[in-house]
């Protein structure tokens, strides 16, 4: 398509282009939610074990960890960045938290410790990206390795055991018959949604992701907010790390391996764009549960976990391809 050269004179131009949300746009927006519903119904039909309280509760607990990290990742991706260190940071924070428990700390302060540990890595990521000007993918690729390495060093490769049994209540317990992780997820989802809609941090995330240069020229302190965004993601990752550790009442230095892929997939399936400026909490939750259901369904129906990986990989590619197509259509 020809672009108008800069020497085109300034005369009559066509009237306002009117945007009519097409059927296709609507379908794309609803797709992640519809898929979850369809899959839910399909699995209910295909497997007798699916609709049991035990199974559904298990799905929730499993998916909650990915989703909580996904909330943080949503903010990061809206701002145009990415954080592939979350799997490693999750393990690190889990180890920190469980080590504190082992040393006799109460659950509350230990949780706080894990959150701070995660946030610290978030800060490291942000500084590498904003000060050293390394692109987010490479920066977090580095911290992914470093965080995992540090985790293995401080544990000597051994799991952290001998934890108080009450710790298990975090991941396996219920509040008023609702799994604790689900409650935490809902609260954090509400918080994140609020941030995105009603705070400077949320608004600036969208702007920075949509056009960082324009944000800068409008006086937005881009660096400050990028730091806040990555720290937020790190903090949530830390919390998720503790929930994961609690499910086995063990701090595993190898926890979270490969989780980053699932988290990013969840956010992209949910509608976020890899180039930034778009994304929602609801979408991320739908994306995460879609993958959670696929995983659960595969287990119930006896599909090999290896094929599951192929399936998830394929879905990620499709989700990003659809995103690219949508973007191209929108700018034409």
């Amino acid at each position: 398509m020809e672009t108008i050269p800069s020497d085109a004179p300034l005369t009559r131009a066509p009237a306002v282009t009117v945007e009519r949300p097409s059927l296709r746009d609507w379908i794309e927006r609803v797709l992640p939610y519809a898929s979850v519903v369809v899959l839910f119904i399909a699995l209910s039909i295909l497997s007798p074990y699916f609709l049991t309280l035990q199974n559904l509760s298990s799905v929730c607990r499993q998916t909650a960890v990915i989703t909580i990290i996904g909330l943080g990742m949503t903010l990061v991706m809206i701002s145009g960045g990415i954080d592939i260190s979350v799997g490693s940071v999750m393990a690190f924070a889990g180890i920190c938290g469980t080590m504190l428990l082992q040393a006799g700390w109460h659950l509350g302060p230990a949780l706080a410790g894990a959150v701070v540990a995660g946030a610290a890595w978030g800060l490291v990521n942000a500084l590498i990206i904003t000060v050293l000007k390394v692109n987010p993918f490479i920066a977090t690729l580095g911290t992914m390795g470093a965080a995992r390495g540090v985790t293995l060093v401080i544990t000597n490769g051994m799991p952290v055991v001998n934890l108080p049994a009450s710790f298990g209540k975090l991941g396996d317990g219920n509040i008023l018959r609702v799994p604790v992780p689900l409650v935490i997820l809902v609260l954090l989802a509400l918080l994140t949604g609020f941030i995105l809609k009603y705070t400077r941090m949320g608004r600036y995330s969208y702007v920075i992701g949509s056009n960082a240069e324009a944000a800068r020229y409008a006086g937005v302190p881009v660096r400050r907010y990028l730091i806040a965004i990555y720290v937020f993601c790190g903090a949530l990752t830390g919390l998720a790390g503790m929930i994961e550790a609690s499910r086995l009442v063990t701090g595993q230095p190898t926890a979270g391996t490969g989780y980053e892929l699932s988290v990013i997939a969840a956010v992209v399936i949910g509608g976020a764009s890899l180039s930034g400026g778009e994304g929602t909490v609801a979408g991320t939750i739908a994306g995460a549960f879609l993958m959670g259901l696929i995983s659960n369904g595969s287990n119930l129906l006896g599909v090999s976990p290896f094929w599951q990986q192929v399936l998830i990989g394929t879905i990620i590619v499709l989700a990003v391809a659809v995103d690219e197509l949508r973007k191209r259509r929108r700018t034409s």
Partner: protein, 512 residues
């Protein structure tokens, strides 16, 4: 308008473009344009910004397709659908933005696409030795002092241009088009370029030299064509000293009476710039703007106007110089600082630096002043909606709602959104960089109206513009820039388009 018939100092015609029309999205860029270049001739193509020069030569180069008209090459009508077609005829173009691969060497760039290959055992692979030898031969032919093994990224813009030229002539070229080749060259480099161009001519090639710098054209060209508003208004031999006729041809148009009137009562000096320098873009910029005043910054491409306002706004750091606001020197290290001091900048490229296209109108409008929409630490979306709607109404921004994505709006409405953003900030010093570029007539008037209102309410306005009628219609004073320096300050009421262009192309000393 009929072009002045070409005087026949020209030899046989190499190429003739006749009745060329080209429009982009309904906006005519070329209207029955004409260009005739004789074999072995050095032909200048001049015109103001926006006259259509680039478009015309891009049609010749196959990059752009004409809507109507014919191109005759040595008496025939060849197909010019692509750059490959043009290359086959022997036409090469050296763009303003050079097309070299910076990480490759001079020799590799020269032979790019046509690398000499080895035979025998390693058949098909690149013959590096021959590549370097051929490059050296080509460079020596012109007396270019370059080592063919140097990576291009280590070369200055002037040297890179020489590489482009060497690349162009390595393949039997009959016509070389140079688009604004001297905008980043020093005087000495311009002279070397002239020598090279004459050598090209001696080698049998014709050259089309697109520029707006008169003295350079006078040094090099045999004949010249003047474009204005997409039409060819003059063709003839290149004058050596008296450019009055050319300048008149470049600008000669009546001032349309469509700039809203304004009563100007300038107050005290609010912005003062002293000795501001940022190499290599501009140096020693000194001027001031008063409350209630609109000062125009005129000049042609490469003069450094955008760089000046960008530097004042903190988008780039100056090498030295001072900025004073209300008499106090201020340090502006970023746009954030500038905004805090009451400055606003509507940038030249609104899509790249002025708007978040994927976001709603309302979000763009409040972007520079989010604090005003906050209540108890959170964004009050209702308040934001009201602010946005008020501004949309005041500026007559036509969009389906405040929630519509800005990217879907027309250019005029997009620009109004940018303006709304700064209005919501209530700045006191507004800098506009090409405020009406790519905008329809209706939206232009509305923006002018708003600029006047701002000035009347006491804001100080600095406006960069390439549209002379706009500068003459809207400003109180005009600063003319040329090659990085402010060469003249004019009082708008007492100057003409021709005087402005004269200073923009010739600078100070040529004006006796």
């Amino acid at each position: 308008m009929n072009p002045t018939p070409a005087t026949s100092q020209a030899g046989p015609l190499l190429v003739e473009m006749r009745d060329i029309d080209k429009s982009y999205g309904g906006v005519p860029v070329l209207k029955a344009a004409h260009l005739g270049v004789a074999q072995g001739e050095i032909h200048g193509l001049i015109g103001e910004n926006g006259a259509g020069k680039s478009t015309l030569v891009k049609i010749l180069d196959g990059e752009v397709q004409r809507d109507a008209g014919e191109v005759t090459w040595l008496g025939e009508r060849p197909s010019l659908q692509s750059r490959a077609d043009a290359a086959r005829l022997g036409i090469t173009m050296i763009h303003q933005e050079l097309n070299l691969a910076p990480h490759l060497t001079v020799a590799e760039n020269i032979s790019l696409g046509y690398e000499p290959r080895l035979r025998g055992r390693l058949a098909g692979t690149i013959d590096r030795r021959r590549e370097v030898a051929e490059a050296r031969a080509s460079l020596d032919r012109f007396g270019f002092d370059l080592d063919p093994r140097t990576p291009v990224r280590r070369l200055t813009p002037a040297k890179r241009q020489l590489v482009e030229i060497a690349r162009a002539v390595v393949r039997a070229t009959r016509l070389v088009i140079m688009d604004e080749p001297t905008s980043s060259l020093s005087a000495r480099e311009v002279e070397e370029l002239s020598r090279v161009v004459r050598q090209l001519q001696a080698g049998g090639a014709a050259v089309i030299f697109v520029s707006h710098r008169m003295e350079e054209l006078a040094q090099i060209c045999d004949r010249v064509t003047v474009l204005r508003d997409g039409e060819t208004v003059h063709e003839g031999p290149m004058p050596r000293r008296d450019f009055a006729e050319l300048i008149h041809a470049m600008v000669g148009r009546e001032l349309r009476d469509f700039y809203p009137p304004r009563s100007c009562r300038p107050g005290e000096v609010v912005l003062r710039v002293e000795g501001l320098t940022r190499q290599p873009h501009f140096e020693d910029a000194t001027f001031q703007v008063r409350r209630g005043e609109i000062v125009g910054l005129a000049g042609l491409i490469g003069a450094g106007r955008t760089e000046v306002v960008e530097t004042i706004f903190g988008g780039a750091t100056a090498d030295h110089g001072r900025i004073l606001i209300d008499g106090e020197p201020v340090a502006i290290g970023s746009p954030r600082d500038a905004i805090r001091h009451g400055l606003a900048l509507l940038t030249e490229d609104r899509k790249r630096t002025g708007l978040a296209l994927g976001l709603p109108v309302a979000h763009n409008i409040t972007l520079a002043n989010l604090g005003a929409t906050m209540r108890r630490g959170c964004l009050d979306l209702g308040k934001e909606e009201t602010m946005a709607r008020d501004l949309m109404q005041r500026l007559r921004i036509r969009a389906r709602s405040t929630r519509q994505r800005v990217g879907r709006l027309s250019g005029g409405n997009q620009q109004k959104v940018v303006l709304a953003k700064w209005l919501s900030r209530q700045a006191s010093i507004f800098m506009f960089d090409e405020p009406t570029r790519g905008i329809d007539v209706g939206a232009k008037t509305e923006i002018y109206r708003e600029m006047n209102a701002l000035a009347e309410s006491g804001a100080a306005i600095l406006m960069v513009s390439s549209e002379l009628p706009e500068i003459l219609g809207m400003t109180d004073r005009i600063l003319v820039m040329r090659a990085g320096r402010i060469v003249k300050e004019l009082v708008t009421a007492r100057t003409t388009q021709e005087e402005i262009i004269r200073y923009a192309t010739l600078g100070e000393k040529e004006n006796a």
